[in-house]
Subunit: 431 residues, 2 copies
């Protein structure tokens, strides 16, 4: 869609009494937030390093609270440091409808992964106020803490803590010179009250998160709104391949038990398997180390990770079984041994079918091409799926690039996403 058709359809919708978000205000907030963690002397295009619990993150959090207060919202920071801003509804017994994302980044990350969804939630509320639209349910915006898994190596930190609680012993973990307890205090949390989950099933009437795609599926289909079918299930197996370290000059080829040769066969088998099945499953060996690791020594041990993702846990279990059978064959042929560490499967979290339909209808109404697709990445939305009807929508990432200063989503796509979010939130909040 060109800029011209976008403005034309906004005008047509306005004529029907359908409000649209203020794209300029959304962009302005994204630019303001990008200053926290920006490299010294850099610009918006240089991205941000705004890791959870660090000083730039605290600065951004304070700015966000300021924005929410200026909007007239009821602001609350929970025991994990998650920030909420609520606009009241007309029915005091109705549960709130929640939307948001995160404002932490990876080191040298971009300006859209997290901030777009967080600030679009604010923009939705601002739009309701602009148009004097009252809703039965309260509408609440949230910024979850530490989604990226950099700080304390824990992804989805804030939404995990709120919906599952946090083990007391974990509070003593240290990262970046702080214990987790101190880190929580630094961002206004309260380590004394994190043991039990505080967001429970039924506490919200719905949750919708807008996020950038971080892939290329939407570019391939030239779609404009991604209707997320759910967050994929993930299995991640540490695998050890054992052979025999030996002299690379004096050991005949026939006498070798080369762990890296065995591991290489597994790497190719993992890649081939994911491509040989129908569907969207992905499989990756991302980590691989060789011992002893000298040019003139035959590798005696290789440690690697096999990670597989799909909406269907059954597919992952089937893939695992096929790979383990393949390893039995490699082990015999290469005279090596494979040791798989058993891991718990993280189940996929399907989106609510009603919310998906609502998002799809809104996109179509606004003249935007929708595409259903799974989310291969984890998102805080996966935790909210256990609490209330959950939905998620994507907008395209230019080049499929994320976790990089080059991460880019056009302002038009940002506005498209926020408008569809607005429509679906309104539907939930009016219900």
């Amino acid at each position: 869609m060109t800029r011209r058709t976008f403005l034309a359809s906004s005008a047509a919708l306005a004529a029907q009494g359908t409000p649209s978000i203020n794209a300029a205000r959304l962009r302005q907030r994204l630019e303001q937030l990008s200053a926290f963690g920006r490299p010294a002397g850099g610009s918006f295009a240089d991205g941000v390093t705004r890791v959870a619990f660090t000083d730039p993150f605290v600065g951004a959090s304070k700015w966000l609270v300021g924005e929410m207060k200026a909007m007239g919202l009821t602001v609350r920071v929970d025991q994990a440091g998650n920030i909420y801003g609520r606009r009241a509804g007309t029915d005091p017994t109705a549960k709130a409808v929640l939307s948001g994302s995160h404002i932490d980044s990876v080191p040298s990350g971009g300006n859209f992964d997290g901030p777009l969804g967080t600030l679009a939630a604010l923009e939705v509320i601002d739009t309701l106020r602009d148009h004097n639209i009252a809703t039965r349910h309260p509408v609440e915006a949230v910024a979850w803490v530490g989604e990226e898994g950099v700080a304390f190596s824990r992804g989805l930190f804030g939404s995990n803590a709120a919906t599952k609680g946090l083990a007391t012993k974990d509070l003593a973990e240290t990262w970046n010179g702080m214990t987790l307890a101190d880190a929580l205090r630094k961002i206004g949390g309260d380590p004394a009250r994190v043991a039990q989950p505080w967001i429970k099933r039924g506490d919200y009437a719905g949750y919708i998160e807008l996020h950038i795609e971080q892939g290329r599926r939407m570019l391939r289909q030239t779609s404009q709104i991604g209707i997320v079918e759910g967050i994929v299930a993930i299995v991640r197996y540490p695998v050890t391949v054992l052979g025999e370290a030996n002299h690379a000059g004096t050991t005949m080829m026939a006498d070798r038990r080369d762990a890296l040769v065995g591991a290489s066969e597994l790497v190719l088998a993992v890649n081939k398997l994911a491509q040989s099945l129908p569907g969207n499953q992905v499989a990756t060996v991302g980590m691989l180390t060789v011992k002893p690791g000298a040019a003139n020594v035959i590798p005696g041990e290789v440690n690697l990770t096999v990670e597989m993702r799909d909406m269907s846990s059954a597919t992952l279990e089937k893939m695992t079984a096929q790979l383990r059978a393949e390893c039995d064959r490699i082990a015999r042929e290469r005279k090596v041994e494979f040791r798989w560490t058993p891991v718990a499967l993280r189940d996929g979290q399907p989106s609510d079918p009603g919310v998906m339909k609502s998002l799809e209808a809104a996109a179509t109404r606004r003249g935007l091409k929708p595409q259903r697709l799974p989310s291969g990445a984890g998102h805080d939305a996966s935790n909210m799926a256990a609490i209330c009807p959950m939905g998620m929508l994507f907008v395209p990432s230019q080049g499929g690039i994320s976790h990089s200063p080059r991460e880019l989503t056009t302002w038009e796509d940002c506005a498209n996403g926020a408008n569809v979010l607005l429509d679906a939130m309104l539907e939930l909040a009016r219900a």
Copy 2:
């Protein structure tokens, strides 16, 4: 050969006027030397850590000088710390015949790799004295410094320095808290006189080195004396595989440029190629690192080494060409890029045909089964090939194990090797 037939053939040879070495004395010296660098409270079976330039190495060197002096030899320590003990010949114009090896070890090494060849050279000279055998040429024993390449990461240190000289700038290199200059002074060397080589073509009438095989070829053939055809040529290529690092969850299989998948194809191609050609060539990927190296990130870069060894440089060049063609195919199919760092080929060093025949005849005469084979490992003998007729003989390594406390060569095999060495040295020294 059983112990009984061994003694019988020694007796028969003695009756013919052919001397044999004193196996008990050789064993005693091997046991004495093993005390330097032995783990505290350990025994002979616990191996040694006697890395060049360390205190246990200095202790062993002093002991060796003491043995040589007690034998009545003229002892000399050169500017690189190599130790020589010479028995005079009858012709003052004749060049010496040299034999020896090294007494340094790898960390947690064995008692035979190096010590056997060094102490067998002493035993040969002792045997000549026992039998009052005069030779036209002087006979000299040598212990080369730092063959193992642990100290200062330089293999064949002493023989390289003596035959090629040492760059002055290298003297400032530090290892284990010492500069190389200080390390040389510590072992009685002289860093001021190492720039120019001091052993030149024609300085010796011949060089023969006895060593353990460090492989399993002789065990496979149940041979007793390995007649080394030469030291193999080696090429070692650092290779970089470039793909694109990306999110392992959101990047579809079809969109990936996975550097580790490309590298794994190369690892298997290297292994297959070495086995598909006739001959003794070996090829190894011993080092491989993955960037960024996280379970949830598609590898963007892999660095690895391809090492190949064969007596024939032409074979190595042909293998290199085949592998590079294979990489072109992998690069196209996997959308990755291969960068090979050009390296200088280290040429193979063939043994002298006359010395090989002499060793073979001696083995046969003593009732020992000989086997011609290349040395897949580097040895100081490779440097002496440029100086004078060079020969080398192997005795079997139990289990093919070396660079380990479990390294083992039977006392009988040690004696067999020393006897064949004696015969071939006598032939050279009398000529």
